[in-house]
Symmetry: C2
Subunit: 333 residues, 2 copies
């Protein structure tokens, strides 16, 4: 990372600016995660919710509501809602990923893990749903129900892209919108809506969240081929090994010679991978400028996110959201 580590990260500055709201979100998370009847629920969720702790999505909702001048309480509920939806998604992803990693390996206590993940995820979805109903805004419910459908559809769509070299950029875009951008854009838009912001501001915050999420996921996918050891918890080549077509791969395949195509068919479609294959894939990506062009696409989304903020009041919070968008792609340099 070429960033100045003496400067606080934009997300930390946002968290500091919103610290009172965030403390209320944390309290509401603990309150609503509890179950009178099933104490196992907070045991499972506490682990997840205390662990990550970045609270990026709730911060987006709180910042959007405040930026639009909101002075009520509902943004706390909505920030909690988006964190619950995010956590539920992670729990269900565990089941999906667990299954994928299990191939050919004996597993221990999978029963408990799968069962808890599915059911506690469902519980958090239901709790998030109750919280949003409490805000009594049909518009907010419409936005969040549409986001939930986009997320679920994207997850299923992703299954059909694995080991599929014919995956298009349009399909990839739908997958990552479901995986990341749909919840980001819902998080920012509901902040504006609950604040009663003008349509133009609500649309702008939706666009900001969407573009931020797209940039965020493309960067994540880029780093799978070019970002060893940046501490984000992803191992170099994970997507490659799983046969997941992401932007650098899709672009390298589009430019492939017949010999190169045969290589991609072997390693991705048939998942017949040998030592040196990941390195060779990265060489092909570099030769065809696929990594560089994926980076450029991420930067375009960042520019879209920043541009969307022009429609919002020029405040310190807006500047922090602007910095946040810049920071997402700064991980690429």
């Amino acid at each position: 990372m070429s960033l100045d580590h003496t400067a606080e990260k934009p997300q930390d500055r946002l968290a500091a600016a919103l610290s009172e709201d965030l403390a209320r979100v944390d309290a509401l998370i603990r309150e609503r995660m509890a179950s009178r009847h099933a104490p196992r629920i907070p045991e499972v969720t506490a682990h997840l919710i205390d662990a990550g702790g970045k609270r990026l999505r709730p911060i987006l909702t709180l910042a959007s509501a405040r930026l639009c001048g909101y002075a009520g309480d509902h943004h706390i509920r909505l920030a909690t809602t988006v964190e619950f939806i995010h956590t539920a998604t992670l729990l269900h992803d565990d089941v999906v990923d667990d299954s994928a990693q299990r191939r050919g390996r004996p597993t221990a206590n999978l029963l408990w893990d799968n069962t808890s993940s599915v059911l506690v995820g469902d519980y958090l979805f239901a709790r998030s749903f109750q919280l949003m109903v409490e805000c009594e805004s049909l518009r907010v419910l419409d936005i969040l129900s549409n986001a939930a459908a986009t997320i679920a559809e994207g997850e299923v769509l992703q299954l059909t892209t694995v080991r599929n070299l014919d995956t298009t950029e349009a399909t990839y875009e739908q997958v990552i919108r479901g995986k990341t951008a749909a919840l980001f854009s819902a998080a920012t838009e509901v902040g504006a809506i609950i604040a009663g912001a003008p349509e133009a501001q609500a649309r702008a915050l939706h666009r900001y969240g969407d573009a931020l999420g797209m940039a965020f996921q493309i960067v994540d996918d880029f780093l799978d081929y070019g970002g060893a050891g940046d501490g984000i918890g992803k191992n170099l080549g994970d997507d490659f090994r799983e046969g997941k077509p992401t932007l650098p791969l899709i672009r390298a395949v589009a430019a492939a010679s017949p010999d190169e195509r045969a290589f991609w068919e072997r390693v991705i479609e048939r998942r017949d991978q040998r030592p040196g294959d990941l390195e060779h894939a990265m060489t092909l990506m570099a030769q065809h400028g696929a990594l560089e062009s994926a980076r450029a696409t991420a930067l375009e989304w960042t520019a879209t996110a920043r541009g969307a903020l022009d429609a919002l009041p020029d405040t310190a919070l807006r500047a922090m959201l602007d910095d946040l968008a810049g920071y997402v792609t700064a991980r690429l340099s």
Copy 2:
């Protein structure tokens, strides 16, 4: 079954009376189950939705709305909503049950099954959520979000009761309310609410659905010990083998002598089961009148369901709902 097989079942008579509405529900199910981006979704759900085909829960919503004089369209959306929630629950149960049955056995293509079940279930939840938002009634959303939480909480609670001889009747009641009655009562109540029925009628239909669901589940649990070959697809002794405490077992354990308690601890808590154990369990249940008293409890719930209908207009539909409640416990005789 001691029923007269020349007489149509109450549920079939309800389906006939509501056939136009039900055809619209079926069309809406097909329309909303479709996914532009992920054709795999209707493949998975078509199997489930075409299969069962009883449509009991949608029938409850349609009948309740019509009974309260509704003449609009939203009851079609709400009936589809409850069927989607039910199907999503079944899909997620598959993962849970699959895991349980897997113990010690090698499994094939579990990856595909678990993944599809979780993600397509999530997709149906999201679709049901969109459908209910389209009805633009915060009251309906409140009822359904609370039902979703009760269902999820009941599922998790059930996990903690397995192999647990200290499970109380109160806990059992919460489990089966989540498992069955919560969606039944939401299905009937939202029919009344969308029709703009008076509070007393909405409350009565909630009570009817809840009591019908409780009777339905207690009968199902009873038949696990006393209803071989009634064609409902459950094998005698399934709950026993899984160590699930249901009403007959809870009551037999409550009346157990020290020797009998030792038997229950071995077969349920330690799940050390030998040939003849199921028969011995059934003998103990009979000796302590546990099966007979579970039957009496189911009949009480049926009486509650029927009594609740007094608050509704005295029409042919009401008579069919009354017959339906009677039919649920007729499976016991």
